[in-house]
Symmetry: D3
Subunit: 252 residues, 6 copies
């Protein structure tokens, strides 16, 4: 099977981290391709940046349509995720969504460790969209401005581990979610030093998506995840326009 | 004061309806300007179409930045609303948000009347984002495919009135919200025939935004509605890039 | 238009604060009249005091019935608000309700700054009645006994500003609501020193009520905000008895 | 022990029904005294009528203060209940509250059978105040105008039984709450014909209050149910004024 | 009336505490019998231990079936409570359930004081099952390993009192629930030193169950608390098998 | 990897259905072993039957401890799931849990199709325990008594398909969950005739568990999913006693 992992941001260094963790996790026979957004910002911390990332991700997904069996929207906060699920006829998952579903089977309450204080509101609202906010023990984050988005894990390893311990000891977390593509792979490295299971967005998105693809869910032709109805549009990138205007492969 | 009303869709006929209701509602001294999205779809019914409309609205808001005292995002479902609030340093309201806040002061439970069945999921999720879903009595909608988005009010007047009566009699609504820019102005015409107050998205957005502008709320420099932090970006339309890269007028 | 602002308490000094902020906010052409409850307590901090204030407010509203286009119930906690909405055929708003609706358009989460510790439970329950409790970041209050209800703003200016900063920095508030009629007008004075928008109950009640009156919502003749059904009553003040026994001007 | 049951309405016929069911339920040694509100309406169906009944109930409770070991607020909807709990230093329960707590131990979901359609909104909000709304399967009511508030049980026995069956078969109720003082005692008569336990507001208020009195809970001197702080007041009935101004027997 | 109190754990010392508090509380004429689980663990702190206690309690209830008018499941956390309610045709209450219902009538928000940190997750989930979690101010617990489950009250009296004060002062509790059978009776001893009412699981279970028995609720023959349908089973203790296979006394 | 699938009921015919669907789904290299509960009932429809199945499942899991890399609790309703997660040091999933997590990534709202009316309450409460009840569109079920638990799929194929269509058309489901081990495999057969994705409990439990095992989450040594603390116990089956008394392989 072939999985397209879209980094909704323009940072190639983050795409590299994503790719490396995705490949470590993928089953034999799974092909991972990582695409970086052609426009947008360096990394998403706010609702506005997510709005831009959502559109960029949709453009990439449309452009490569037909060349994958499933898509990962690879920024925590899942920009545009639900809309892209409507658009495509293959399974689509997001980092937050996958991490939440995985964490929910490893314990009752989870906490999120994030890279910046600003990002916390956006993450909380993402959890609310999944209706799992009442199982969220806390969100804790680094407070200092980041030196370099590509080396957050190295630069703040100690502080991140401390935050992980606090959410268990003080907030009652049964599971820790290490959030954000810039932290992809960190869970794997520090897991043995922590008292509870640690979930990584990228690796859980790969196992979740592989599982979905194997279950072969049909594309909805009823309910609210049907392809958007064909109707006049203008000014859209050609692949997106084509995808909006055409009947999909699988769904009719 | 000068209000920019952005239609997140490409339909000029709907922009005309919006403009007409907005002007009927505006206070003396309020100048209304309506802009139509330069790209996107004819009208938003789904999460994906909202994703496109959100980006288009942001582009328009950036392009005209400096020429308004407040912005209305004029599609029910409020595409991109919270993100655009972060971006700008003037008040921004959406049709759903305004209608909900207005309805919430006229009764305890409200219902939404919509133009298509497909649109209902997107509206319900918009209400959930406001955390007012437990006051939502119901959403009812037209079921047939629309003949023409510009003449929905005329084409389905009778059926729309029937739906209004059902939500009061069967669903327990204290207030009716007539949803969607294509229905702008209908509330005004049928209100005398209905047993409860009827709220229109466009007119309530104008009164709410005028009220906010008069209260002169300062632009947040703390909390989660601060302007997105300046960071590398690429490939964005120039006005948006400029707005992301510059210090704002009011906030520092 | 003519707005009756009812202070549900017996404190003339607080009525003066209310009047002054209401007049500063009102649009040209809006006439503000402030009435003080003829019986009750000095200021409402508890559920029981609110029960008394509710009845007093209803008596004043009945007594002056016919002489206003809308009513403000001018104590935070909105004593009797929903009942009085049933009774009258013009829009009625409360300080908490107005502040919440205004705050909800300026950010996602808000905190309330209150004048006494005792008052916090009553405020929280008022927010719960609006179903917006999950957007309430916190309620913080002065802890010392008040010297004089008419000079709280002067006596505790520094401490109140500190509380405002704490709710942003520690509780995650996007908006601050300065609660309680005794603090009317304070928001205006300290807003420039605070990092997020500050909402004042009195001024937001005036803009919200003006907006509602301009929208001319009809009096409900169906749903749960219809006038109470005519039925035997006894022992009520004559204006209240008359209002309960008579058909209303606008609603039939 | 001596229990004061206050009918918040002016209907002596309803007081007689209440008294008769209360006495049938009371333990040996429990003295039941029923008082009828000296002012107010014939029966409470709306938020406004509840506002009046709340004040009337408080006045009666104050007038007879010292002559009871506990109080029942004997109208469904519990007018003024939480405020009166603050005021007094003995246990106070309401019909809805008692019925909900009793029903909650007999099953997971309950439905309410009510005497009028208008009353349903007020009942639903009462259940919301207890935070048990998510266990409420439904509220069903008589729809016709009542002939006589004192003979509702006789006049509509068949229809009320039908409603009881519907809430089990169609709404998933595990327990039926027969609501409203005018229906006091009906549960006892029809219980054998119904498939699930039936809870009566009056009888459950008596068993709950007897239980509380036997547990001898102390009057709060901390938290939000402390007696309202002594402060200036005016224009109140003398017993209420005295109760507000004096230190209570038990709490200091 | 005869009440069977089942200690779901194997600790006779805790059964003795339960019995002594139950007898102190019981009305004249109420006979209390306490049974200790024949298998299981010393005291329940976790979901797994509750699973074992649930089955043990069911076995005891089946074995003594016919010899009681009501049952108390006497461990905080109410192991197996809802299932045992289905099984039996007499009222069944749990310590948590009874304490919550009692506390809910004495204030709006309550806190739970527990004997170990580990137990907090299980208690929180028990409160969630009652749908009252939004009225839970906090759960605080002893942190040290217990010396002896039979003498917790003596060993930690001071610390437990401190925790009680903290939940009022810091967490906003109106009522304190002293949780867990090992603390049975403590409430009675320290109540005068605390600022708010204190609820004990055992004593409130007795008053609640006595009240229910007096109301004589019928066994459900509809809804979800009907006796489990007769169907093939194997390997169960004989009394349980008999109870599952036979028509019940009261319900058909 | 080796997966132990435990049927909490005594029906070998259902175990056969489970085994067959589990093997169809399993990845190459995954070994599936199905165990049937040695005691209990034919199939679980009620809270009481779940209580019995929980204990039986725990006994089986203990007996075979050391011979598996993960466990599926293979009855919808997940009897004992959270407790067994505490007990073991390998991942454990339930049919409901897995189906919910899978469904939650295929749409926003889901409905459950069940085999009996009685079972609906237990399923709804299971969904509540996951905190996803607000995404549950409906539960619909067969109404007639089942002829044979092993042939439900054949006997009621038409009616089950009808129910599936109703939840999409009338209840707004985006995804259908076919619930209950007796329906294992049905989803696969009817999926092409339905308008939305269909999720099967057994197959989603296998993909979810395989994913978890591949992620190698560590056994909690902190938080509420730590192994139950070692303490006195008695009367337990020897393997369970040993597992409770011993340090686990992986967690210390």
């Amino acid at each position: 099977m072939k999985i397209l992992v879209i980094n909704p941001n323009i940072s190639d260094s983050v795409s590299a981290l994503i790719q490396s963790e995705a490949r470590r996790t993928a089953s034999p026979g799974t092909e991972i391709e990582v695409a970086t957004a052609p426009f947008g910002v360096a990394y998403i911390e706010t609702r506005f940046e997510a709005l831009v990332g959502a559109y960029a991700t949709a453009c990439v997904a449309a452009e490569r349509y037909g060349n994958y069996d499933g898509v990962v929207v690879a920024a925590f906060g899942d920009p545009g995720l639900q809309g892209i699920k409507e658009l495509l006829d293959v399974p689509v998952v997001g980092l937050t969504e996958s991490a939440l579903m995985t964490a929910a089977m490893l314990g009752q309450r989870f906490s999120i460790i994030a890279i910046s204080s600003r990002i916390k509101a956006w993450y909380r609202e993402t959890v609310e969209r999944s209706h799992l906010a009442s199982r969220l023990a806390s969100i804790r984050s680094l407070e200092e401005p980041l030196k370099d988005i590509g080396s957050v894990q190295q630069d703040y390893a100690g502080r991140l581990k401390e935050l992980c311990k606090q959410v268990v000891d003080e907030d009652g977390a049964d599971v820790i979610i290490i959030a954000g593509a810039p932290l992809a792979g960190l869970a794997r490295e520090i897991r043995d030093e922590l008292p509870v299971p640690v979930v990584d967005g990228v690796s859980s998105s790969i196992t979740q998506l592989e599982g979905l693809i194997r279950l072969q869910p049909k594309k909805a032709t009823g309910g609210s995840f049907t392809h958007p109805p064909v109707k006049p549009n203008q000014g859209l990138p050609e692949p997106l326009e084509r995808l909006l205007n055409t009947q999909l492969r699988n769904c009719f």
